[in-house]
């Protein structure tokens, strides 16, 4: 790890001021991603701003019934919060599918959102990588790309966003509350992460001098019919090859509202709101789910090592939606997929 200077921020204004003074500085929350990457010299900020003392550790229900989750709430605290379990079980389930109990104790909501790709070439400073070093090329295209993207890729980068939490937040249309020198603004979740295009060095649309202060969830949504289904090489403590956050509002077997977000397949959680809207009024059955899966995967392209993800994603979408429709969500401690 390279040496750096350390600033302990006491409040949000102080952290934002320190970021504005040096946009190359990095915020440190749980450290489970940043410290890892600093040990590999993949990220080598000259200044690290410790935000762990900031008062962003609350989960509050707002007057309109929406839930506001502070950026420093740990992944474990969020997953086991009674309100989250009760009203947003899809989010709790996605969190428990990710990482390990130790990591979830340290990892924060903000850090999870901002975690970087697990692309092997990104992690290896001796390999070309346009995300780590713009213009150097992409080791994964034509290389080993079993874990890489099948949707929304570019000629510059085929990396995926590795988060489980974010897949559920995308399905739930969360809002990201950010603060910069000019104050606060809201970013709709689907606009927060971005596709790589020809600037894969940018994972998201946060400005360099802004930080995430909270995530907001709209009032009660999809508490009855939901499932988070994660397919991976081993059944715990492994990143998703494909994951699906599925949620349905149903009336008399017909779809009122349906959401499907995919993880492990793109540079951001993948959704198709138009195709979802077209499901309204249709029966919540396998034929509808298969159609929706095919719409979501339209244009999917394998890179050689990850071609298997296309049929796997279709089957996972259908299975997750079937689990959601029957009110039997995937249980994260039970490994059998039913």
């Amino acid at each position: 790890m390279k040496q750096f200077s350390y600033i302990r921020a006491e409040d949000v204004a102080g952290a934002v001021a320190a970021l504005s003074a040096d946009p190359q500085a990095r915020l440190l929350a749980g450290g489970t991603n940043l410290v890892d990457l600093m040990k590999y010299d993949v990220m080598s900020p000259a200044t690290v701003i410790d935000i762990n003392r900031l008062p962003l550790k609350d989960i509050e229900t707002l007057e309109d019934g929406s839930l506001r989750i502070g950026a420093l709430v740990s992944n474990a605290a969020l997953a086991y919060d009674p309100t989250v379990i009760d009203r947003f079980p899809l989010l709790a389930s996605a969190l428990l599918a990710g990482a390990s109990p130790q990591l979830r104790n340290a990892a924060t909501t903000g850090g999870n959102l901002l975690q970087r790709t697990r692309c092997y070439y990104f992690y290896d400073p001796s390999s070309p990588c346009n995300k780590r070093e713009p213009g150097s090329g992409c080791g994964a295209i034509g290389g080993v790309n079993r874990i890489h993207a099948i949707l929304g890729t570019s000629a510059s980068c085929i990396a995926t966003h590795p988060s489980d939490m974010c897949v559920a937040l995308a399905a739930l249309d969360a809002v990201v509350e950010v603060e910069g020198p000019d104050g606060r603004r809201d970013i709709p979740f689907l606009d927060f992460h971005r596709l790589p295009g020809d600037e894969p060095q940018y994972d998201n649309t946060l400005a360099p001098d802004e930080m995430v202060v909270a995530i907001r969830l709209h009032p009660d949504h999809f508490a009855a019919n939901h499932s988070y289904l994660k397919i991976r090489d081993r059944l715990s403590y492994a990143f998703a090859l494909v994951s699906v956050a599925a949620a349905i509002d149903m009336k008399d077997g017909a779809i009122v509202d349906i959401r499907v977000a995919l993880g492990g397949v793109a540079h951001k959680p993948w959704r198709n709101p138009l195709a979802e809207a077209e499901c309204a009024g249709k029966p919540a059955d396998e034929a509808t789910f298969r159609q929706l899966a095919q719409r979501l995967l339209a244009g999917a392209q394998g890179q050689g090592g990850n071609d298997f993800k296309i049929p796997m994603a279709e089957r996972t979408i259908i299975r997750a939606l079937t689990q959601a429709a029957s009110g039997t969500p995937q249980v994260q401690s039970e490994k059998a997929i039913r």
């Binding site: 790890m1 390279k2 040496q3 750096f4 200077s5 350390y6 302990r8 440190l28 749980g30 450290g31 489970t32 410290v35 890892d36 600093m38 040990k39 690290v48 410790d50 762990n52 474990a76 086991y80 990482a99 390990s100 109990p101 130790q102 990591l103 104790n105 340290a106 715990s236 403590y237 994260q332 401690s333 039970e334």
Partner: protein, 172 residues
């Protein structure tokens, strides 16, 4: 890293380590794991991967299990840290330490301090109510020797003792 730089950039912190208050000056880039095994002379906590992937470095910070390899010590001002040495000592073993002995829950023993600290954290958290859940919630600790079955047995035994009946009965 030059020694002089480390001294110049060192930042004062106060931590409670295994019940004892320690006033330290730490360079910002020192992890809790390296602080423990180096200056604190507590080599019970093990370095497996140094990247959050194995759990060998698990310790308790304010009662919560955490991978010490990914925690910068400088961020821990005011924290209470418990390592395997603080859980119990020969002659006065923690129930989990004794259960690991009883169940032969290791071969080489390298993962064991992390397993035991993790199990202590698991019990503090209180979210495991079945063997299946113990297994899932211990999945952050890898054992290269594959002692998993015996590890789960040892934890199950202690959890059963705590609730006053055998764990299998409790689950039924």
């Amino acid at each position: 890293m030059l020694h002089a730089d480390a001294e110049r950039m060192a930042i004062p912190i106060v931590i409670t380590l295994n019940g004892r208050q320690e006033r330290l000056n730490v360079a910002p880039w020192v992890t809790l794991l390296d602080l423990l095994r180096g200056p604190m002379e507590l080599p019970g906590t093990k370095k497996g991967c140094d990247h959050g992937q194995c759990g060998a470095c698990t310790v308790l910070i304010d009662g919560q299990r955490v991978n010490s390899c990914l925690k910068l010590a400088v961020t821990l001002d005011g924290a209470e840290i418990t390592t395997i040495e603080g859980l119990g000592q020969p002659g006065n073993l923690h129930a989990l330490q004794q259960a690991f002995v009883d169940h032969d829950a290791y071969q080489c023993g390298y993962c064991t301090p992390g397993q035991i600290c993790s199990a202590a954290g698991l019990m503090n958290e209180g979210h495991a109510h079945s063997r299946e859940e113990i297994r899932e919630l211990m999945s952050g600790n890898l054992c290269r020797c594959g002692a998993y079955t015996n590890i789960a047995d040892a934890i199950e035994q202690v959890m059963g003792q705590r609730s006053g009946k055998s764990y299998k009965e409790a689950a039924e």
